[in-house]
Amino acid sequence: MTTYKYLIIGAGPAALSAVNAIRQSGDIGSIALITRENCDPYSPASLPYLFDDEISEEGLFFKGIRAVAKHGVTLLKGKTVTAINKEKKEVLAGNESIGYEKLLITTGAHPDVKAMERFPGIPFDVLRTFKDYQGLKDGSGIIIYGAGLVAIELAEKLAHKGVSVTVIARSRLLRKYFHKETTDLMAEILTKIGVKLYQGVDIESIDYREGRYNVSLADGTAIEGNRFVCATGVKPTIPFEGLELEHGAIKTDGSQRTNLPDVYAAGDAAAVADFFTGKLAPFAILTEAIEQGRVAGSNMAGQKETYAGGISSNILRCGKDYFFSVGNIEPDDQTTLIAEKEDASFFCAYLKNDVLVGAVAWNHPEYNAGVFRYLIYKQVKISGKTADALKRDPEATALYLMNAKRRQDAVGLITTK
């Protein structure tokens, strides 16, 4: 039986981020990635981009192949971990036992398809893995059931390619991440590029025969297509029993530790604290997966790092328009808004108690979404003159505030109390 110093279940972005953190710490111990997929590591975020050739298959695997080679990682492909022996520190994959000193679970999430239980016997596609893409790539006349990022990105790419695509959104598209004004804009753009979009209506029935779908919506609309993609969200993939869960995801502390000794979790499979409320929940956001992977890898390698908590961070390109939303963009009566709006763009910063809690922008690709994230995390005070400056020039003010905060914190690098 082989024992690895670091064994990571999964080979997605959180896993690679952990690998990088382990090597950055100077640790040259053995690392293995064990993945149930039979391919090189990749990021599921890239999958929609395959549909309109914005990325090639070579491009999809480029980073993963490079990382595995650079960091001296053993890649165990096509193996599914099903059980753990926490005393012996072994996992079971098939009938093979693999030992570990530190274990990291980055099994991610898988499509949540309970919405299809209403339509038993109807075959459908999902899009989460490379294999899913391979099954879907030559499709035409595609119906997408869902309104999240995967659904919308896939629709946009298919339309860009000239493939006929219909989106059925039960409520409003991207409801969790953007306001109605913003998603109305997106709907306009999507419609302009050729997406047939139905919002606020659910499916009544689906008829499938001889490779053809006939979908009836609750308002009587009839939709036809050749493929049906269920993109109604994801739920965490839990590899084995014995892990303490929270809302269906693996419960972690601020160092990404689980309840099992020397076992960590990061990414879509993990339940992490919300930055604002401290409540644990799954947080399927890529920036958070990367950061959690980094924190997990650092802690596994003996460095002390803490995950500050999840902040919703979303960036989307719709046609040529960029949209981003960060943090808490649901105003209440304590929220101050700093907004600027033009015909073809807008920006809004949300402040509570003179501290930035959220920001949203349309068509400001030159604004640095990540800098607003930083200001939210660091709870930089913005009031009076700086608030006025933020209104006049959000791009420059955000950069200035970020740099000023970093300078201030540089003194804090010194460890003597």
Binding site: F62, R317, G370, L399, T415, T416
Partner: protein
């Protein structure tokens, strides 16, 4: 090997100047959107901003297509061919180094280039290329094992100094203080006493000149010797125009013998002979500022340096070596000492940086009584940023802090005034001064 970087000083840009962004716009590199100009006159901010070229880059970590790469040179490059324009990099980068280009559907980094440096009329953006320094580093002369305290910067100073100077035709002198080097260095070594370092250097250098050997005599001594008990000897050697390079590592107390106060110890500073308590509040007197005292001897070269800028220190060492052919060359280096300052061993470089940023250790050089600041410090940090970070000074009350702030400001400004009144400019006829 990271050898070249660009620095952006805190000098204020002229309000209407956009020369750097214009220069970048002319560049044909689509993956580089160029430096960004930040103009916030209402906050009195006129500066530029660019990619931080992080060593653990957030953008590289998140890019799903592997379009961003951390190169061996330390810079981060973007391959537009691989970029899918997803925008995740601009969401992940908390340093504001990446923007999205809507028309191209691609990301673009805000990189400083040589064109940016050339365009800037006020030298706000500079290229710092330490390739030469790195290439010219000579072998480490320190023997295996170390008998110094954890975090000792004096040991680092000796190693680095000798890697710049080399051991060929060099005699290195030290004394039985912290810089007790006998048996620890692979270079011709002569051990002086604390009280006669400059005499030893005088004898050695005169001997070699007498027998016609071109040998450089270098001494590394602490502040106890330099400021107090061997000050007269150093002063006399400077007056006689002896030929040697003298480096003072100033840890602001007699450290090796148990942290006793020296002339360099800051006022109110705790040492084992200047206690802090109900009876006394640390050292009574303000410190002596020995580099200025030596500079007033009008010697060929005096400089202050800091280990937070090795490239600058290396340049000053070379200047000193050259000047030591004509007289006494003196370099003063504030050297944080974790043991004596009661600070964490891993903080020594940050404390060096903080000393410069608070004006506690202003960086300047002087030749023949003409002065020049070698580093500007327009955004001086309050001295409390420095004093609160070490056990020997964190007890300062409001009055003491105010007095210390005033003393530090006066000390730094005195040098600035000297530089104004007696400027060391490039057109100063050094040869004429040498022959005087």
């Amino acid at each position: 090997m990271y050898y070249k970087t660009f620095t952006v000083s805190s000098r204020k840009c002229p309000a209407d100047c956009r020369l750097c962004t214009e220069a970048c716009a002319k560049s044909s590199d689509p993956s580089n959107s160029g430096v960004r100009r930040i103009s916030l006159p209402e906050l009195e901010v006129e500066t530029v901003h660019a990619c931080n070229q992080c060593s653990n880059p957030e953008c590289v970590a998140i890019c799903p297509a592997g379009a961003l790469t951390l190169n061996d040179s330390g810079t981060i490059s973007l391959d537009p061919g691989r970029c899918i324009g997803c925008g995740l990099c601009s969401m992940a980068c908390t340093h504001g180094g990446i923007v999205m280009k809507a028309a191209e559907r691609k990301a673009s980094k805000a990189d400083i280039t040589d064109a940016t440096v050339e365009a800037c009329p006020i030298n706000k953006i500079e290229a710092v290329d330490v390739q030469q320094m790195m290439d010219q580093l000579k072998p480490d002369i320190m023997t295996h094992g170390t008998t110094y305290c954890p975090g000792c910067l004096m040991e680092f100073l000796v190693r680095f100094t000798m890697r710049i100077i080399g051991k060929e035709n060099v005699v290195l002198c030290g004394s039985p203080a912290c810089c007790i080097l006998g048996g620890r260095v692979d270079v011709a070594h002569y051990g002086c006493l604390m009280t006669n370092g400059s005499s030893g250097l005088t004898g050695l250098s005169r001997y070699y000149r007498k027998v016609g050997k071109d040998v450089t005599c270098v001494g590394i001594f602490g502040d106890g010797a330099t400021t107090d008990i061997a000050f007269g000897v150093l002063s006399a050697a400077s007056e006689r125009n002896e030929h040697f390079l003298y480096i003072c590592y100033d840890n602001e107390a007699y450290m090796n013998t148990g942290i006793q106060r020296s002339g360099s110890t800051p006022q109110f500073g705790w040492t084992t002979t200047t206690h802090v308590g109900s009876y006394a509040r640390g050292k009574k007197q303000e410190p002596k500022y020995v580099p200025l005292q030596i500079a007033l001897h009008k010697t060929p070269y005096v400089a202050t340096a800091s280990l937070m800028d090795l490239d600058d220190y290396a340049k000053k060492l070379r200047n000193g070596l050259e000047a030591s052919k004509h007289g006494v060359a003196f370099i003063h280096v504030l050297t944080p000492c974790p043991t004596g300052w009661k600070s964490d061993p891993s903080d020594v470089f940050e404390l060096s940086r903080l000393a410069v940023e608070t004006d506690y250790a202003p960086l300047w050089e002087a030749r023949y009584g003409y002065f020049r600041m070698t580093k500007e410090n327009p955004n001086r940090r309050p001295i409390s940023d420095f004093t609160k970070k070490m056990g020997r000074l964190k007890h300062l009350n409001e009055t003491e802090l105010a007095a210390t702030q005033k003393a530090i400001d006066n000390r730094a400004n005195r040098i600035r005034k000297m530089a104004e009144a007696f400027p060391l400019t490039d057109d100063l006829d050094i040869e004429e001064l040498e022959n005087l």
